[in-house]
């Protein structure tokens, strides 16, 4: 059974979905690191379900990013680990997204935000990923 996987650095997403979903919570990760971790998973055959740079908030603005993925069958249990089939569409999207994110970050890194605004970012990120989940 293909299982859903959420990769996120947003504790609001983790708290909300950790019971009923497989959540990879990268607490200290930056926006870019979440994308790079997602890429490594895609290289191992995991498929993207949500667009990695969804939302108009730019990577040098919001520190939070949540991405929805789908693990292929037998993922992780090493005995009958099949050679994972690379999902070309997922690869293209995640590589494009990383390249775009690096270019935007080169212009300006993420400023230090007052906590109120950080909460708004978390809420928006949560809403975007929730749209993808249900």
């Amino acid at each position: 059974m293909n299982k859903m996987l959420i990769v996120t650095n947003n504790n609001k997403v983790y708290e909300k979905h950790k019971e009923n979903r497989d959540v990879l919570f990268l607490e200290k990760a930056t926006h870019l690191e979440v994308l790079e971790k997602t890429r490594d998973l895609v290289h191992k055959g995991v498929r993207l379900l949500s667009h990695p740079i969804a939302g108009s908030l730019k990577p040098n603005q919001t520190p939070y990013r949540s991405i929805l993925l789908e693990k292929p069958a037998h993922y992780g249990d090493s005995e009958n680990q099949m050679i994972p089939i690379l999902d070309i569409e997922s690869l293209r999207l995640i590589e494009n997204s990383i390249e775009l994110t690096k270019r935007i970050l080169a212009v300006k890194s993420i400023p230090q935000w007052p906590s109120k605004i950080e909460e708004d970012f978390k809420t928006v990120d949560l809403s975007i990923i929730d749209n993808a989940i249900n």
Partner: protein
Amino acid sequence: MKLELGKIKIKDVQFGDVTKVEGNVLYVNAKEIETLVLEDERLISAKVELAKPGESVRIAPVKDVIEPRVKVSGNGGIFPGVISKVQEVGNGRTHALVGANVITCGKIVGFQEGIIDMSGPAAKYCPFCSTYNVCIVIEPAEGLDTHDYEAAGRLAGLKAAARIGEAGRNITPDEVMSYETKPLQEQIKQYPNLPKVGYIHMLQSQGLLHDTYYYGVDAKVMLPTVMYPTEMMDGAIVSGNCVAPCDKVTTFHHLNNPVVEELYKRHGKDLNFVGVILTNENVFLADKERSSDMVAKLAEYMGLDGVLITEEGYGNPDTDLMMNCKKVSQKGIKVVLITDEFPGRDGKSQSLADAVDEADALVSCGNGNVIINFPPMDRVIGTLDYVETMIGGYEGSLKPDGSIEAELQIIIASTIANGYNCLAARGY
């Protein structure tokens, strides 16, 4: 479906004790508008200020820009499903106060942004520097959930614009334009040997602060559908998006869609404008697959020869734009895309976040990363607290003297991807 649009040319805006239009001057009773807006207890303050072309005035952060309109005859009312009740619009007669706009601004969320300058170098990039603007500076109540903030801000502008629009109900318009699109079969018969053209209109629908509403329905939960172009002119589509300033499609732009305008201009001459296919730009990849399949099916089902496609936003929506382009082209239908570009400040990087071979005909609405400097303005409507943290702004954008150095992205609708402006980019 036939609509007569009566254009009442507004040449000035003044405060007055009665909201009315007299001799092409719009008078606004500030108190009345503020009380109307404050009926929504989610807002604790609302202040009306006027901004006229050429004045040294800066408006920020901008939530939406709405042209005041009123339905004089035909069924339904302006902004069906949001302000008026749900009823099909787009026929009969509507009056518009052309040259006047309602602009909602003020803090809703920290990063929501967008600037309008009424004069100076930044003015030429924004259509609203040359309109008479009734600005409503709103302040949401403390501790509200972000969804409530956004809804309160959105409704405030639409309510005010509908109320001010009423002032044009009994005024004889300076000019009346009539637009007609017949049901598909009749429309094809009317001009049998002209190429059948459709407009694929993609609505921003990625989530909170990124949404658009069609007859009150959030585009995110909508399946692609067909609509008459004139429905847009009565506000069937309203904007709920207030994040990316430069490619924000304001409610003004939904009412005055440039592609619809241009297609009607040539309708019956060298093309047959048969209708609009409305679709969305969701985050879930399966939604993108489903929506683009349906868009291509509708285009084929309508027997179109050619389509124009426009998107709102950048990055994620580029994927939908390219999927629509590929699938419609593969049905043998000719496709032209209109979009803006983000090739970096030096203009050397990839302009689009996605690309397909079929995208061989594209119109550019300009590079949003270009750095521009604009001087301080004497008066600020709203607040400049967040300039440096806006998209396009950065550390040091807001200079001590109040001048701003930022990417063009920070100016509302400066590179709007539906072809409203004349700004473009070319390869050097």
